[in-house]
């Protein structure tokens, strides 16, 4: 178990270094940082002085080390466009994105898992067919289109829910939350559904196909042959075995949710990290892009790690393999 954990943590560190390398290469070689920072009338001498000051003439490895060291201390430099500390800008916007992602992940699981179980067990009922068709529509509709449709129906036609922004937020320490005010919660509804719908259909289809797969296994046949009740077979045996891969994928999806928030935030003018990242892509504001990449990479790695550990907790086979190695 310990060896397994150490191996996984080691792997995670390697992934992080690769992500850092990509971010650094972006940061350093896409566009000249000096050109981005100075005006046209700057003299070559001034430029050279700035290069030295920024350490751009140092060996690449030194620069890479400095980049990683800075990133570890949450220092990603200054935005070309906004001339502000990137870390500060991201820090201010992180709560909005995280709250949105969390709400949509909860929505996706609470609706997706029961739908998946139902369609897996009653594969031929009309409701299952409806769910499946619905899920295909959910996968086929791009996120932004779902958002626009929701806005059109609930904000433009019925005018019951807001179409942009976070509503009223409350500052709790460094964290600005929209979960404590009515308008904040109301503002969360449409974006959360928009963001969560794709994950929901994904979870539903995953649970369904896993359920169908498990129902065909010998141990389910044997459980039936032992005369166990339908409930015990379906939920005790089948669902538990289904949940192993579902936990993995759902967990991994949490990272995707945060990344997909870029789109939802654009549709709903949600003041989060995704919107900031998108603006930085449009303006080729490399420090923000690099920082966002590092941050998302870090989140993914951490989520992967947690999911793996959860996996171990659920599946005894892995526990022992880990022990053996």
């Amino acid at each position: 178990m310990l060896a397994f954990m150490i191996r996984r943590i080691f792997q995670s560190i390697i992934v992080m270094i690769v992500v850092a390398l990509i971010s650094f290469l972006l940061f350093r070689f896409v566009g000249d940082p000096v050109n981005q920072m100075v005006g046209i009338e700057t003299t070559p001498e001034q430029r050279e002085a700035l290069r030295v000051q920024l350490g751009l003439n140092d060996p690449v490895l030194t620069q890479f080390w400095r980049f990683i060291w800075g990133a570890a201390q949450f220092d990603f430099g200054i935005s070309y466009q906004f001339k502000q500390s990137v870390a500060e800008m991201i820090g201010k916007r992180a709560p909005a994105t995280l709250e949105l992602s969390l709400m949509s992940a909860i929505f996706a699981m609470l609706v997706g898992i029961p739908m998946g179980v139902y369609t897996g067990l009653k594969r031929d009922s009309w409701l299952s067919k409806f769910f499946l068709t619905f899920s295909l529509v959910g996968i086929s509709l791009p996120t932004f289109l779902i958002g626009i449709l929701l806005i059109y129906v609930f904000a433009v036609q019925f005018q019951v829910l807001p179409s942009f922004g976070r509503g009223e937020v409350v500052q709790v320490g460094f964290w600005s939350t929209g979960l404590l005010t009515a308008s904040g919660l109301k503002a969360l509804i449409l974006p959360s559904i928009t963001l969560g719908l794709f994950q929901m259909t994904l979870i539903m289809r995953l649970v369904r196909s896993e359920m169908l797969e498990v129902m065909r296994t010998d141990y389910i046949k044997f459980a039936r042959a032992r005369g166990l009740s339908r409930k015990a077979v379906n939920f005790g045996h089948a669902l538990k075995n289904t949940l192993v891969p579902v936990i993995t994928i759902t967990g991994l999806q949490l990272g995707s949710v945060i990344a997909f928030a870029i789109i939802t935030e654009t549709v709903f003018s949600w003041p989060g990290m995704g919107l900031l990242f998108l603006q930085s892509v449009q303006n080729v504001d490399i420090p923000i892009m690099a920082a966002y990449l590092m941050l998302i990479g870090f989140l993914f790695v951490v989520i992967n790690l947690i999911v793996d550990l959860l996996y171990v907790a659920v599946d005894p086979r892995i526990r022992v393999t880990g022990l053996a190695q």
């Binding site: 046949k221 042959a225 032992r226």
Partner: protein, 326 residues
């Protein structure tokens, strides 16, 4: 004599496919007496496993029972609803599958699966059920059952897992165990152990066994009687000794001469030419006739009825013709 424990009468199992309706089991009839071991042999696809699945009510759709009756302890069971059938499963009829590696749920401890099964069928509390589980594990020859009961299936070897599976099958003292190729997936070295374990346990309890296998050696050692299936039909049925010593149906003779024997001084085993027909291409008349060296006139025209031949019963025109029509 009293009524047999299990009676199968003209059982038909069909699979609708888009091209045709396939008859995988075609009017099979046989009985199993209480406490008896009936071997069911045949090549794969002969309908052995389907018959077993049909008895316990676990035919996989789209397969379905299209005719005939299954009577268990005097009660017809092929038309029971799901709940009534479920109460019979495990409690009175148990089943053992081919692959012990996949028969146990990998996420539950062996004990949990045993206790769950015991409590489904018997009114025992947790402690009593656990005690019974330990006793069962002990009985099937698991060493140190008190500690092993808390192990997960993957911590057991294949042979040990099949022992656990047998313990699970015996958990509620059933009257009949359907063992579908219980040793095929095991190492040859442990096959004999498992078979003798199953045989002894059932003998002691008076449990009847329907032993499905394609291994005539296993049958010869274990079964009281044998039913030979060919292309979804019973070719011959009778006492094991009779079938081995004097097989009546040419197919049975072929099967017997393909068993390697210590006493025999023949150098080569005799093979039956050709292979069993596919379900969608079963020949008219006796389904064995294209491979049969003794085929003659009626064989190509009509299916032979199952008739008494000495102590056994065989479905072959060689005998049906002599006895008129049975």
């Amino acid at each position: 004599m009293s009524q047999p424990l299990l009676q199968i009468r003209d059982l038909v199992i069909e699979f609708p496919t888009r091209r045709a309706l396939l008859r995988a089991v075609d009017q099979i009839s046989f009985d199993i007496e209480a406490g008896e071991v009936l071997g069911v042999v045949g090549e794969s696809g002969a309908g052995k496993s389907l018959t077993g699945a049909a008895i316990i009510g676990l035919l996989e759709p789209p397969g379905r029972i299209a005719g005939g009756e299954i009577i268990f302890a005097g009660q017809r069971i092929d038309n029971l609803d799901h709940d009534q059938m479920r109460k019979l499963r495990g409690k009175r009829i148990a089943m053992i599958f081919q692959d012990p590696l996949t028969s146990l749920n990998p996420l539950y401890r062996v004990g949990e699966q045993l206790v769950e099964t015991i409590q489904t069928h018997l009114p025992l509390n947790n402690t009593e059920a656990r005690e019974r589980a330990i006793a069962l594990l002990d009985e099937v020859g698991i060493p140190a059952p008190v500690t092993r009961i808390d192990g997960y299936p993957h911590q057991f070897s294949g042979g040990m897992r099949q022992r656990v599976v047998i313990a699970l099958a015996l958990a509620a003292e059933p009257d009949l165990i359907i063992a579908d190729e219980p040793t095929t997936a095991l190492d040859v070295s442990v096959q004999a152990q498992i078979i003798s374990l199953l045989k002894n346990l059932c003998k002691n309890r008076g449990t009847a066994v329907m032993l499905i296998t394609h291994d005539m050696g296993v049958i010869a050692e274990t079964a009281d009687r044998v039913a030979v299936l060919y292309a979804g039909q019973v070719a011959e049925i009778g006492k094991t000794q009779d079938l081995i010593k004097s097989p009546k149906h040419p197919y049975t003779s072929g099967l017997m001469s393909s068993i390697p024997s210590m006493e025999s001084d023949e150098d080569r085993l005799i093979q039956i030419p050709g292979s069993m027909p596919r379900l969608n291409a079963i020949p008219q008349g006796c389904s064995f006739h294209p491979r049969c060296s003794k085929a003659f006139g009626p064989c190509t025209e009509k299916r032979a009825p199952l008739v008494d031949v000495g102590e056994s019963r065989a479905a072959c025109w060689l005998y049906a013709a002599e006895n008129g029509n049975g």
